[in-house]
């Protein structure tokens, strides 16, 4: 029987430090498959965030820079502007992108920087141990919101894809999920489309991926998938929020 499944060339052959049931591995794989399929490994520079994916450069087999917390879009801007021939992507979590890095992502998107952002939204801070994120759901418990998120004092969860799609600059903005094979297939298509927009020098591209964090949610991986499906998906609606071609808008 022939080999039916193998590791993408753009991933290294090492165990990751991610927790059991975490969807980072799936997200890494989708990006790596895209890099392989587009044949761009030799001209790709990834930017790791501060957060669970800080060590992403150990898992991807392409050039990588490591950002300070939230600053990946500014670094990507610097790289892409001086080396437009490179393919550049940032890989950021919700504390990194939607909290401390909110300014950098909005302005990079608004300048129409020709790089791709993969945004992992799991509604909590992972690396630092389950603190409340801007994306944490109302009533969701976090180590800094032990009684559950109080929207009266912390506001409502930030919908990044919605927010970025409100900018007037052309962009590709989509929100997908990593909760089922069906979701993952769609997410893969979105990631590839995002990289293709960059490759054609069309626009900034942003893929939000609704993900799970069983460890910090205090759930089994299976329960985490169900909770995300029941709680996150109704609020973080999936779909394409913005495409650079107006006639293709959904």
């Amino acid at each position: 029987m022939g080999k039916t499944f193998s590791k993408p060339r753009a991933l290294t052959d090492v165990p990751t430090h991610y927790c059991p049931g975490c969807t980072h591995g799936v997200a890494h794989r989708l990006v790596a498959e895209t890099i392989d399929e587009l044949g761009i490994r030799g001209k790709t520079v990834g930017i790791a965030p501060v957060g669970c994916a800080v060590l992403a450069y150990n898992y991807f087999d392409c050039d990588f820079q490591e950002a300070a917390h939230g600053r990946a879009p500014a670094m990507a801007t610097g790289i892409k502007r001086v080396r437009p021939d490179l393919m550049v992507f940032t890989y950021q979590g919700d504390g990194d992108l939607a909290s401390i890095g909110m300014g950098e992502i909005i302005h990079a998107a608004n300048r129409g920087e020709k790089f791709t952002t993969i945004f992992i939204n799991n509604a909590i801070y992972g690396m630092t141990g389950g603190q409340m994120a801007p994306t944490t759901m109302p009533g969701q418990r976090a180590s800094t919101a032990p009684a559950g998120r109080d929207t009266g004092s912390t506001g409502m969860p930030v919908k990044m894809a919605d927010l970025l799609s409100a900018l007037m600059t052309p962009a590709y903005v989509t929100r997908q999920a990593l909760l089922s094979p069906k979701h993952i297939n769609r997410a893969k298509k979105a990631v590839k489309k995002a990289f293709e927009y960059q490759m054609n020098n069309t626009c900034f591209s942003f893929v939000e991926l609704v993900s799970t964090c069983p460890t910090n949610w205090g759930m089994t991986p299976k329960d985490a998938l169900k909770w995300a499906e029941d709680t996150l998906i109704p609020y973080y609606e999936l779909g394409e929020f913005k495409t650079p071609e107006p006639e293709e808008e959904q």
Binding site: A48, C62, D63, E66, R71, A74, M75, R83, G103
Partner: protein
């Protein structure tokens, strides 16, 4: 090349182009905004890149990203903006990337003022951001030297794979002087950027490069910091620059002063000489590495009764001067820290009363 009359800020911008740096990121702040205005107009002529960032925080990381690719890159700012860039400076130093930062200092703390100051001496020479690192810091006394130091900064940044700072002040940025751009200061890139994230295809490499400052293994972090330390020790041996003035006399007092302030001191020294009082001066041109031996030797001269650090701050460089003089002579401080620049007569009065 013929001399042209240029404002300091514009001359710094042109010097970067002449040095082969076509990548510039900045955020507006008085009194250095003319660098960005000049380069916004000039860089398109030479197929260069200019991005006005959304903040100095972001600009610091645009510099980091570009420098991490091994490209020549510069930013300019003024004191409060440099504070915001100091986070990135720490990361750039830790990740060992060459980049040039220009600080046209204004008064502080806080918003301070927009007049000339030398209040960022500590910030520039002792770190500024967090962690164990230094910048190579050069301090021009005028527009011509600002041009020359800017041109030298790029090859120095590449030699040491680290950030280099030009520390000027608002007067140097704003005043016009005749300048020339010496061709012989252009240096080809060292092309030792096999460490950079330039893309594996471009390097013809099958191994990825990682630009990072995180070393979770204590031994690796220790090794990285000791590498930095070795670079700083090499700078102390090879890069110290200073100028001695009137030190071939039996001077009774020694001034240590840099930048704009040192020009006033030179006039004061000339005046005092006419009145029969010899005063010497050491002008540090590099603030890190600091001209330690030059200051010690000048202070040690038998005729010299006292040393005075004259600066546009409430007394920052004086701590380094004291360190260098090692207690062999009394060390005093004089300065202004609100934006006014003391007149030569004031300096002469201060020095004379110190020696009486």
């Amino acid at each position: 090349m013929a001399k042209v009359l240029m404002k300091g800020n514009e001359a710094i911008g042109e010097a970067a182009i002449k040095a082969g740096c076509l990548n510039y990121f900045a955020y507006p702040i008085t009194p250095q905004s003319e660098v960005a205005e000049y380069l916004a107009k000039r860089l398109p002529d030479v197929n260069g890149t200019f991005v006005q960032g959304e903040s100095e925080v972001a600009v610091g990381y645009m510099i980091f990203g570009a420098a991490g690719c091994g490209e020549r890159v510069m930013t300019t700012s003024s004191s409060p903006g440099i504070s915001l860039m100091s986070e990135a400076l720490s990361y750039i130093a830790g990740a060992r990337c060459p980049a040039v930062f220009v600080n046209i200092m204004r008064g502080g703390p806080g918003l301070g003022g927009i007049l000339p100051s030398q209040g960022d001496y500590f910030q520039a020479t002792k770190g500024g951001g967090h962690g164990d690192y230094h910048l190579l810091v050069m301090a021009p006394e005028g527009v011509q030297e600002a041009v020359e130091m800017t041109m030298k900064a790029f090859p120095l940044a590449e030699k040491y794979r680290g950030p280099v700072m030009i520390l000027g002040d608002g007067l140097i940025g704003q005043m016009m002087e005749p300048v020339e751009f010496p061709d012989n200061l252009y240096a080809e890139p060292l092309n030792n950027d096999d460490w950079a994230t330039s893309g594996m295809d471009k390097r013809g490499a099958d191994k990825k490069n990682i630009v990072k400052s995180l070393f979770l293994n204590p031994k690796e972090l220790n090794d990285n910091n000791l590498t930095l330390k070795a670079q700083y020790e090499q700078m102390k041996k090879e890069e110290v620059m200073s100028e001695a003035y009137n030190t071939d006399t039996d001077y009774k007092g020694l001034i240590v002063s840099y930048g704009t302030m040192s020009r006033v001191c030179r006039t004061a020294i000339d005046t005092m000489k006419e009145q029969g009082l010899e005063i010497g001066m050491i002008r540090p041109k590099t603030l890190f590495p600091f001209p330690e031996k030059e200051i010690y030797d000048a202070a040690a001269k038998e005729s010299c009764k006292a040393v005075i650090s004259i600066e546009l701050s409430m007394g920052q460089m004086v701590e380094d001067v004291e360190r260098c003089v090692r207690g062999i002579k009394p060390v005093e401080w004089y300065g202004e820290c609100g934006g006014d620049i003391p007149a030569p007569e004031t300096i002469a009065d201060v020095v004379q009363s110190l020696l009486n």
